[in-house]
């Protein structure tokens, strides 16, 4: 017969014995808990040491990676920075460097992945969003770039980072202007105007952006603010003159441009502005006679310009010479006609319209825009004469 090998059931222990046994086990358990606590602290300190070691290794590889990046060894940089990222995968700086290395290696896909992963962890990090924006801008993804620029601008900026934020907005406006998005650029420029400190470079920069975004009036305000800070700054004067010119405030333009005669832009604009100041027949406060005189003078100046043009064109005979000769004759006739009208006290507006039409024809025939033609065109535009 087989012995089934069964474990015989022991008789139940008396309650008191069981109680003592449980008490003994409880004591042992307390000892075990003490051992567990000690083990916890041991493990934690070892884990901390290991973490520190990993971070030091990561820092070393990070430095190597950055060095290789500086040496333009993008592949080597990617390898080193990948090692660094493996050893300290939470490091934002290492990940940013890795993204930079990928970009340098021409691998914008991986660079984007790395940056997007960092952004998952730091969604409001302006630098990450800026890098993403720059990456997208470089890849021609305008919408993504705009989104990332805006996210970067709306991110969390410390009080010590305001200058960087202004710089970023400025870069964003440049990007928008390059992509021919002046309305967005204007909105951002106005926001930037509210953020800048009251100093010369900031006002100049914002004024410049506003001017490029198509708002010369607000640009003029910025340049005037700059002049409040530095009244004799030639750059500010020249730009204020330019903005005033673009805004149609020719008297102001004349004032500012005259004060900054050595600036290239001043040299271009000042003759035009001076002509406008001298020839605008519809300027308020003028006597009728003076208005007619101005129309006549403008015609004379135009005649001189057409004659100069004729001489140049007819030096080499051709059809252009013939047409300009016709225009010269017509100009002389017109001048006499206008003189008669002036003596009869007829409308200055009508005379100005004739001059404007003549200027347009002269511009078309001569193929250039000398100051007198520009001045007449601007006077006409200012008063809604001609077209």
């Amino acid at each position: 017969m087989n012995d089934p090998g069964k474990t015989s059931i022991p008789p139940p222990l008396p309650l008191l014995t069981r109680l003592r046994f449980v008490q003994h086990q409880t004591t042992l358990l307390i000892v075990l808990i003490a051992i567990t606590i000690a083990a916890f602290f041991l493990t934690r300190s070892l884990a901390a040491a290991n973490r520190a070691l990993h971070r030091s290794d990561a820092a070393r590889w990070h430095a190597i990676g950055k060095q290789r990046l500086a040496e333009r060894d993008a592949t080597g940089a990617v390898a080193a920075l990948r090692r660094a990222a493996t050893r300290h995968r939470d490091s934002r700086d290492i990940q940013l460097s890795l993204a930079e290395a990928f970009s340098a290696a021409g691998d914008s896909g991986n660079a984007r992945d790395v940056l997007l992963k960092i952004r998952q962890r730091f969604p409001d990090d302006p630098e990450v969003n800026l890098r993403l924006a720059t990456l997208e801008a470089g890849s021609g993804h305008t919408d993504e770039a705009i989104r990332n620029y805006q996210t970067a601008l709306l991110g969390l900026w410390g009080s010590e980072q305001l200058a960087q934020r202004r710089q970023l907005r400025s870069e964003y406006i440049e990007f928008l202007l390059d992509r021919a998005l002046p309305q967005r650029a204007l909105s951002e420029s106005l926001l930037l105007a509210g953020e800048i400190p009251d100093d010369l470079p900031s006002h100049l920069r914002v004024g410049d952006l506003l001017l490029r975004a198509g708002d010369p009036a607000r640009a003029l305000q910025q340049f005037e603010s700059a002049l409040d800070v530095a009244p004799s700054d030639p750059e500010a004067l020249a730009r204020a003159g330019e903005a005033a010119f673009e805004a149609g405030s020719f008297r102001l333009a004349h004032k500012y441009l005259s004060a900054a005669p050595d600036r290239p832009r001043s040299r271009t604009l000042r003759p035009v502005v001076e002509l406008i100041a001298a020839l605008d027949p519809l300027m308020p406060g003028l006597a009728t006679r003076e208005r007619h005189r101005r129309v006549a003078t403008a015609t004379d100046r135009l005649a001189v310009e057409v004659e100069r043009c004729r001489v140049t064109a007819c030096a080499t005979a051709g059809s252009r010479c013939t047409s300009i000769e016709g225009l010269a004759k017509e100009t002389a006739t017109t001048r006499a006609k206008l003189a008669r009208r002036g003596r009869r006290g007829e409308s200055v507006d009508a005379g100005l319209s004739i001059v404007v039409a003549l200027a347009e024809r002269a511009s078309a025939a001569c193929g250039a825009n000398p100051p007198i033609i520009r001045a007449v065109a601007l006077i006409a535009a200012r008063h809604g004469v001609g077209r």
Partner: protein, 586 residues
Amino acid sequence: MKPSKPLSSYSLQLRESHLFVAVTIVVGILAGLSAVLFAVTIDLLNRLFFGVDPSTMRLIAMPALVSVVTGLLMRHVFHGIRGSGIPQTKAAYHLNGGIVSPLVPVGKFLAGTLAIGSGHSLGREGPSVQIGAGLASAIGQWLRLPPERVKDLLPVGAAGALAAAFNTPVAAVIFALEEIIGDMNATLLGSTVVASVASVVVARSVLGNEPLFRVPAYHLVHPAELLAYAALGMVGGCVSIVFCKALLGLRGWFRRLPERTVVWQPAMGGLAAGLILVAAPQLLGTGYDYVDRALNGGVLLQMALALGLMKIVATVISYASGNPGGIFAPTLYIGAMTGAVVGTIVSRLAPFAVAEPGAYALVGMGAVFAGIVRAPLTSVFMIFELTQDYQIIVPLMVANLLSFYLSRTFQPLPIYHALLAQDHVHLPSAVTRKADRSWTAWHVMETRVPFVGADATIADAVATLRGDPVRLVGRADAFQGTVTVTQLRDALADGRGTDRVDSLIKQPSIHAHPDHPLAVVVERLAHSDGVIPVVSRADAQVLLGVVTVEGIMRGLRGRTDGSRQQDGGPPAPTLQAGRQPGPEEA
């Protein structure tokens, strides 16, 4: 003064229950701490052995040199710590009442950290499970808990360790139930959950709550993409089969080498692993950083293919040569690379929009895990917890199940069972564990059995025949197999009388274990030559008895007569498997 409450049996029972809950929590915490410490020590040793930028010489020499030490440790100091540790844990739970020697967790910790830290392509999770389970068992024994409580603590410790090792509390509980206990309805659910939670809380307080892998949120891009995931499941299944067959084949080869080489076998594996590391340093250790890269779509097709193949080779060599370390991490690595390969091909060929290769790497990881470890539920939850990405769960389930079924078809025995079978340990199947034990092989077997020595000649065996249908070859503690009388007589007639009798043994031989229900025994008897050897589960080379039709009849008659006591049912199989038959009884 208030009189003290009288002591009642109920209140004492309550105290005992509370005590067990407290022990469960402490075991969970300790198991978790041990897993964290194991991982940290591996990291530190890896840094020590290889420095920041390992040289070629170090890559070649370090695994081999360190494996010499681990080989000596495993041979002379710590036994039962080779390989993963999960098979040993299962065997301890099912065959040894949850008793594990306290030396096992200590030895596994030492040898495991050395082996994995020295660059072997092995995982740390399997050893963590064995260490956690071993600690749990040691604590249970130290507190002198009842045997059933000690046994219950084993999966509790295993769950705690796995939860901390992977930061996957749910998967750890499911793994303990699905793989260690082998019963999803086990009553230990509460204890494993408590231990797993305690372990993860402690591990997170030490390491932080970071998923092992950081992956973008992947999802099913197109419904037809499920077909691609199904294909990935099939490929994953094939990879699993190749891996299992290669692992078992090479391990079998190592086991057949002479006994004196056992101590050097880990070093042989170490040398081969070192040479592979020179070609692919990306395989160093667990290789989780490359898995992470694959999951993020950062590994190219050729690279993924090469790394996947080399990882299979490196892991098979490291594991089969007896180095202590698991196959969880390599499985995930191989799966991720398989997925990356399939994903890249799909993204190039698919006529519709598909997810990035990283999504396929994620699903591939689960599919290969399900195919190799053969724990599909654990696989799904583990991938979900490892990546904290729920969106990809449907493709993951599809691929997992296909891989699982394919692997099960061509590799019927799960890898851990197959590894144990190579060590002559036969775990009971789920059916056997749940079967009615009122009649088992143990109750009807006869222990007075005739043997013939394995080195005896066929002529000698024929000369000692006494009308038995078969002869048992070997000894009671070194059972080789059976030969039939017909075989013996035919061999003698063929003039092979001087050949050794063991040359006639057919493998695999039909056998039974003492806990097999009678129905199973009778079924096997129908396919046998009339005699079924009954061998120990703990060591299939130990013969406990034989079952014959006559034996069954005698057993039944004996019970009817009341001459046999059957009230308590059959014994639980143990590593000291009861009475062993005497020497040859001719």
